[in-house]
Every structure is written in structure tokens, then in C-alpha cells.
């Protein structure tokens, strides 16, 4: 219930100590501001980091050939392990592997041309399966599919940078023909620049086409695969490494012979890091808030002491202990809630500002405070206000009217 009289009383007594009220309120505002800011920025950090993996299936594993570091059956260390297309077929037979495909980079730089415009870009050959492993987010068109691969079609999925350089962003690239090393390719898809370092400079063509047209060697740069649901890479890995070790003749224990990136493990690590960071931010934010509340509590204690005579008078004319208790609690709660609300507004304002300016980097994007967090902050604040007010309120109640009236 909105008790106008009580609010009038509160307003009157807070007005008596404007500066002190303002300073105390600032402590709480700052606390909640920091809490909101930290949580919002934490969200931004989380989103930014998770965005690093947005194009990559989180259950994917990437295998590159390395350099042996151990003797193996009389072979000296330091040999380069060259993965080839046969490895794909071999690993595909392992249970628990869902999609699998090669990535092959054309070593030689080919000029690409559209009309008068020429540029040099990286050309990758991938299989249809790769579309499900590295999910390029397409701006338009489609991914490379089975048919493109089977028929070695001369089709390409290009990055936005390619469209920019070759077509000056003036023509719809889809369906148009570009020359790659003098050979015409039809653009079937354009992918978005997701991240700075995930280059928009790439051109993806079917692996089969790449071998037919540019490089017939069986070697590939990378094996990309996803683990089928219900399976874990940890249990597939020993068998996969054993098979590769036999074929390429290195020791299965030689950890340098293969470079294996298990994205799910990376994501898990990051997620627990994020949880840690979030926890840390909550602790720091709540700590700051609590410090603010201790400030309020302290100020109110001093205020109550100074107002001993006032409370004595109020009691002498019939104020009940509960009315005194609620008066002080109300005052404290009013300070914390109003101050907290201002802090909340400021925090959300700053976060919206950051969003508005569009400050974004690889590890930070789109900070936000969601409703549950805001409501949680309000709840924390109310509880903190009540705790902050309780001690001073008890103090005020304990004042005996006669002692208080003697007090000067």
C-alpha cells in the first residue's frame, strides 16, 4: 500500500541531511552500477568468445599433420606427416564419426578476375560434408553439395571481401561467373564475415574440382569431422590415431605427429572459464553493493544517534516501537531503492551505449543485461536495504523515551 504520510515523513527527514543522504545514496548507486556493468560486460565477453565458434560445429574435431618427434622402426624423427584423401575414407569407417571431409588449400596463388577487377584470394577445396562441420553463415545462395562434388562442378562459395574487390558490391554475385586462374567458376554462395581473422578472403570450391583443375596430388591440409551424438571424441581418438599412425608410419604415442583440435573440449574449457568469470563478477559486484549498504547502515546509525531526541519526542507522544522501526527501515529502503534504481539505470544506460556505439572485438560483442539479472539485482538490493536498515532501526526502537528527552 502506498502510504503517502509515511513517504512525506521520509522525505522530510532525508531532506534534513541532503549531502549525507546524497553521499550515502551514491555508495549504493555505484554498487549496483558496478554490478550491472560487470554482469553486462560479462555477457558481452561470453558472447564474443562464443562467437569465435559460431561457424564451427561444437562437436567437431580438426586434424592436421605434424612432424614426428620420436624414432619409429628405424625412421628418424622430424618427418612431416602428410595427410591424404585416403585417410578420410579410412577414418569414416570408425564408429562414432558422423561427418568427415578434407580441407585442401591450393598452394599456388591464382588471380581471380571479374570484368576488369582482379584480386588474389585463398582457394580451398572442401567436401559437401564440410558444410555441416564448419557452418559458414551464408549471406545468400547455398553451400557446396554432393552433386557439385560428384560432377566436379566449377562452382564457388566466396567471402564478402571477394564480392567487394571483384564486384565492387555493385552486382548480385550469385550466379555470376568469375575467372579463377583463367577458368570460369559460377558463384553459388556468399558467406558473411563472421570474424575478422576468419578470413573473408577465401573462396571455397568442391574438393573434387580442385583436384581436377588445380592440384591432382592426394595430399590434404586438414581432416574435419564431427562426432556422432552419443559418442565422445575421447573414446574415438585412440583408434583414429592408431589407424593414422599405421598408415603414416609413426609412433601412436608421438604427440607431435598430429595436431588435433577438439572443439568440444575447447568450448567446454571456455564455458567453465566464463562461469568462473561470471562468478567473479557477481562476487565483485555484490561485494561493492554490500560495501554501499554497509555505508548506508553506518550513516543511518549515526543519523539515528543524532535523532535520539526526535525519537524520544515521537515516543512520548504515542509512537509505537513498530512505527519507529518501520520509519527507519523505510528511510533506509527508500535510499537504497532510489539510489539503486538510479545505479541500475546508469548501468543499463552505459551498456546500451556500448551496444549503440558497437564496440566489438573478437572476445567482446553485444553486452546485455537480461530481465532475470535486473530483477535479481532489484531483489538483492531490497534485501540489502532491509539488512542495512535493520540495525539502525533496532537502535532507534531501543531508545528509551526518557533517556532520549534528556539527550541534548
Amino acid at each position: 500500500m502506498f502510504d503517502f504520510d509515511r513517504w512525506a515523513e521520509i522525505g522530510q527527514s532525508l531532506k534534513q541531511h541532503k549531502l549525507r543522504t546524497a553521499l550515502t545514496a551514491f555508495g549504493v548507486s555505484w554498487g549496483i552500477f558496478m554490478l550491472i556493468l560487470l554482469l553486462g560486460m560479462g555477457k558481452g565477453l561470453e558472447r564474443g568468445t562464443m562467437a569465435l565458434y559460431q561457424d564451427t560445429a561444437t562437436n567437431s574435431v580438426w586434424i592436421n599433420g605434424g612432424k614426428t618427434s620420436q624414432d619409429y622402426k628405424g625412421l628418424t624423427p622430424g618427418r612431416v606427416v602428410n595427410l591424404d584423401i585416403e585417410d578420410i575414407a579410412m577414418l569414416a569407417r570408425l564408429p562414432g564419426i558422423d561427418l568427415i571431409g578434407p580441407t585442401k588449400l591450393v598452394n599456388k596463388a591464382y588471380n581471380m578476375q571479374y570484368g576488369q577487377n582482379i584480386g588474389s584470394f585463398q582457394i580451398y577445396g572442401i567436401a559437401a560434408a564440410n558444410a555441416g562441420i564448419q557452418k559458414l553463415s551464408l549471406e545468400g545462395g547455398r553451400q557446396i553439395n554432393e552433386l557439385d562434388e560428384r560432377e566436379s562442378r566449377k562452382v564457388a562459395v566466396v567471402g564478402t571481401r571477394v564480392v567487394e574487390v571483384l564486384m565492387k558490391n555493385r552486382i548480385d554475385p550469385l550466379g555470376s561467373s568469375i575467372l579463377v586462374g583463367g577458368i570460369p567458376f559460377t558463384v553459388i554462395g556468399v558467406y558473411k564475415k563472421a570474424l575478422e581473422e576468419q578470413s573473408p578472403n577465401r573462396v571455397y570450391i568442391p574438393y573434387a574440382t580442385l583436384r581436377n583443375v588445380f592440384d591432382s596430388s592426394p595430399y590434404i591440409n586438414q581432416i574435419a569431422l564431427t562426432v556422432a551424438p552419443g559418442h565422445a571424441w575421447a573414446s574415438i581418438r585412440p583408434e583414429a590415431v592408431k589407424l593414422l599412425a599405421q598408415r603414416h608410419r609413426f609412433d601412436a604415442q608421438d604427440s607431435a605427429a598430429l595436431e588435433i583440435y577438439d572443439i568440444s573440449a575447447e568450448v567446454k574449457k571456455l564455458q567453465s572459464l566464463m562461469t568462473g568469470i561470471r562468478l567473479f563478477m557477481v562476487i565483485v559486484g555484490v561485494g561493492t553493493l554490500l560495501a554501499g549498504c554497509v555505508g548506508v547502515s553506518n550513516t543511518m546509525l549515526v543519523t539515528v544517534k543524532e535523532r535520539t531526541r526526535e525519537f524520544g519526542i515521537r515516543k512520548a507522544i504515542g509512537a509505537s516501537p513498530s512505527s519507529i522501526l518501520f520509519m527507519v527501515l523505510h528511510e533506509t529502503l527508500a535510499i537504497t531503492l532510489v539510489a539503486g534504481y538510479l545505479g541500475l539505470l546508469a548501468g543499463v544506460g552505459v551498456i546500451e551505449l556500448v551496444r549503440g556505439i558497437g564496440i566489438e572485438s573478437d572476445y567482446f560483442r553485444d553486452p546485455q543485461i537480461d530481465l532475470p539479472i535486473a530483477l535479481g539485482a532489484v531483489a538483492v538490493l531490497s534485501v540489502a536495504g532491509l539488512i542495512a536498515g535493520y540495525l539502525p532501526a533496532r537502535q532507534a526502537v531501543r531508545i528509551s523515551p526518557i533517556e532520549a528527552l534528556r539527550h541534548e
Binding site: 503517502f4 504520510d5 522530510q12 527527514s13 534534513q16 531526541r309 526526535e310 524520544g312 519526542i313 515521537r314 515516543k315 512520548a316 507522544i317 504515542g318 509512537a319 509505537s320 516501537p321 513498530s322 512505527s323 526502537v397 528509551s400 523515551p401 526518557i402 528527552l405
Partner: protein, 235 residues
């Protein structure tokens, strides 16, 4: 209000063998040493006595602002023994109006807000509170000072505000501790006229004073010396 002893006693105040001591560190200072007296409904009683004789101590006990040690204090038929603060507040609010020597107005509240405050604690709606406070202030001759702060008023005006505050919840008993102690003789006379008037309305009045002139207005004087009543013939 539980565990109160209702006693059939047709008096505003009955005090029997009442004692009270103060404790100053390890020392016990007896201040009231067995007080017996009673006050009828509608009576006007003055309490006189030398400084330090225990007048204020007695009045504070009567006003339930302080506790007593032994004996009995029966107020309006209710035995006042150690009460919870809530019960004490209830009696102070319903039965007693207190006027202090040093006024004890809240300095940041205007005259009307000071006067209406006891009604706030009785949960009377604002409009009614203000109306009543205004009428009382007008009656005290302060119609043009209603929105003044205590610091903007003279001693006599402040005491009249304090009296209005003591009257606002229409208590049957008014207690005043040297209400004219800080006022000059002319203003004292005005204030005492008001007290006589209040008494004329049927309210019971107990006033501490050093001034024989003022005591002369009372129907009866209780003289206190060293914690005892010396003129027991009138008790």
C-alpha cells in the same frame, strides 16, 4: 492489550507507596521514597517542591515515560506495571498529553505538523488531522503561525504549540513539567489561563511548578520534599 490488571477504582490516578531509585554506576540513589496520593477525574493538581525533590521523576512515571520500582500506579483503572513498549505507547497515545518545560517540538516540522503528529500515530487520516490541529492552534491564538517552524516562534508561542499537541488526541489526562519555566511572567499567565480553560473542559491536569501564583490556580497542591509528600492531609 493483554495481561493488564483492571482495577475498580474511580480515580484518574492512584499512587500507592511508590518508590523509584536511579542507579549511577554501583551507587543506588533513591529518589521517590514511598509516594501515596490520588487524583480525581477532572481535578487540577499542582506539584511543588525544591529542586531535586523528585517532581520530574514522579511525573515521568505518571506519564509512563519511565518505570517505577515498588508500589502501585493505577491509571484510569489500569494497574501500570512494567509494560511492553507497545502497550506503553498505546496508553501514552490514548490517555496522556505531555507538556515539557523545554517544549520538545520537532524543529524541522511546522506548528501544524507538530500538533497533528500524535494523530498520525493514531492513524487518523491527514485531512482530519490537519483540521483538528488548525482549530487547536487557532484556539491558542496562533492562527497566523500555523506554518511557522518552532525556531520562528517565541517561547510562549512554542509552548502554546506544545500544549496544542498535548491536547490534539483529546486525552483525559494532561501532565505538564514546569510548562512556564522558560517563559516570562506575562506569557506564563497566558499559558496558565489556557490550562485553567482545559481543566474547565473536564480534563484532569497535573502540573509541576515553582510559581506560587500558578499553584494558586490549582485546586490542590502536592508538596514534595526529598522524595516524599509533605502535605499528606490532602492526599
Amino acid at each position: 492489550m493483554c495481561n493488564l490488571h483492571l482495577i475498580h477504582e474511580n480515580k484518574m490516578i492512584t499512587v500507592r507507596n511508590l518508590t523509584k531509585s536511579y542507579h549511577v554506576g554501583p551507587i543506588t540513589v533513591p529518589v521517590l521514597k514511598g509516594i501515596d496520593f490520588s487524583v480525581e477525574y477532572g481535578e487540577f493538581v499542582a506539584i511543588m517542591g525544591p529542586s531535586g525533590s523528585g517532581k520530574s521523576t514522579l511525573l515521568n512515571v505518571l506519564g509512563i515515560l519511565d518505570r517505577y520500582d515498588e508500589g502501585e500506579y493505577i491509571l484510569n483503572g489500569t494497574l501500570i506495571k512494567p509494560l511492553s513498549e507497545t502497550e506503553a505507547a498505546h496508553f501514552r497515545s490514548r490517555l496522556i498529553g505531555f507538556v515539557f518545560q523545554s517544549f520538545n517540538l520537532l524543529p524541522f516540522k511546522s506548528a501544524i505538523d507538530n500538533v497533528s503528529m500524535p494523530l498520525y500515530y493514531q492513524k487518523v487520516p491527514r485531512r482530519q488531522r490537519d483540521e483538528k490541529a488548525r482549530r487547536l492552534l487557532e484556539r491558542m491564538g496562533l492562527a497566523d503561525r500555523i506554518h511557522h517552524l518552532p525556531t520562528e516562534m517565541s517561547g510562549g508561542q512554542r509552548q502554546r504549540v506544545a500544549i496544542a499537541r498535548a491536547l490534539v488526541n483529546e486525552p483525559p489526562l494532561i501532565l505538564a513539567d514546569e510548562p512556564t519555566g522558560n517563559l516570562d511572567s506575562e506569557t506564563s499567565e497566558d499559558v496558565m489561563k489556557i490550562f485553567s480553560e482545559i481543566n474547565g473542559e473536564g480534563r484532569t491536569l497535573v502540573v509541576i511548578t515553582h510559581d506560587e501564583h500558578i499553584a494558586a490556580r490549582a485546586r490542590r497542591v502536592i508538596r514534595l520534599q526529598d522524595g516524599r509528600i509533605t502535605n499528606r492531609n490532602l492526599g
